[in-house]
């Protein structure tokens, strides 16, 4: 058995691979799964935070991709197409999950007094900026946990826009929201994340 991780598929090799997939070539299917499955699993893990569900979603995604391979027209890269399908499969699972009551996003947004000033304006800059923080290994894990503390509906939008890098129109379509609602949710999600990061970043510089 070949233990090397499957090589990424170069754009110029995609037409040939597609042809083999459409012809029902079993090896081509295996190559597709090995080449893209890892990245798709990373996506579904981020969205679902449950290993078993994340794997199920990847399986659902591939089966749905296999069924529609004839309709893939090559306007986008195969990787982009599969990424969208993985996101969609994870969202379907998220939707079917029993929702726990959401914490209110309002509690994580800045309050304003009547004249339009912030009720509790920040008094000092954070002791470190993003670049200095990212130079340290533990920062990503810490940010990931704070993202997980966001109310689900806002966490999803933040993940899809800022992390999976889908555009507003795509996210709107996937979540059945208006583009304006997606923008509002993203802005609120970022502000809420700022509030969640804030307590650890106050005080004197390190």
């Amino acid at each position: 058995m070949d233990l090397q991780p499957a090589a990424a598929i170069a754009p110029e090799d995609e037409p040939k691979l597609l042809e083999a997939l459409r012809a029902g070539d079993g090896e081509a299917y295996e190559r597709l799964v090995r080449s893209y499955g890892g990245r798709m699993l990373a996506v579904t893990r981020r969205l679902l935070r449950d290993e078993e569900e994340a794997r199920d979603a990847v399986q659902d995604a591939f089966l749905s991709a296999f069924r529609s391979i004839d309709r893939f027209e090559g306007q986008s890269r195969l990787s982009t197409w599969l990424h969208r399908i993985a996101v969609n499969a994870a969202l379907m699972k998220l939707r079917s999950k029993k929702r726990k009551p959401e914490t209110s996003i309002e509690d994580l947004l800045p309050g304003f007094i009547e004249d339009g000033h912030m009720a509790e304006p920040p008094e000092a800059p954070w002791r470190e900026g993003a670049d200095a923080l990212l130079a340290r290994g533990e920062t990503r894990e810490w940010v990931r946990r704070r993202i997980d503390d966001l109310p689900e509906s806002h966490r999803t939008v933040l993940l899809l826009r800022d992390i999976e890098e889908l555009d507003t129109a795509e996210v709107a379509k996937l979540l059945d929201l208006s583009p304006g609602a997606v923008k509002t949710r993203l802005h609120r999600a970022r502000q809420a994340l700022r509030s969640l990061l804030d307590p650890d970043l106050q005080g004197e510089g390190a």
Partner: protein
């Protein structure tokens, strides 16, 4: 002069360069006149940078490998659906 509330509402559009020139100028005037909003904007910008960096970890490579049992399960499910 826009209020701090309006300033905060417009931040994302400002950073995405979506504000028309006159609103952009108003927004920038507000930052220079209102230090707390300047701090808030900086923290918001850092938050966005941190959030986006979460999956781009130069230390740990993105897991590109698919668990073997998942590969088998997917290929078997394909066979079963024919």
């Amino acid at each position: 002069m826009i209020t701090c509330r309006e300033f905060v509402d417009f931040m994302m559009q400002y950073l995405d360069a979506e504000l028309p020139a006159d609103e952009r100028a108003e927004f920038e005037r507000h930052v220079s006149d209102c230090p707390p909003c300047g701090i808030y904007l900086e923290q918001y910008r850092d938050t966005v940078t941190l959030g986006k960096a979460v999956c781009r970890d130069p230390e740990g490579p993105v897991p590109e490998e698919v668990p073997e049992d998942l590969v088998s399960a997917i290929l078997a499910a394909r066979g079963g659906s024919d």
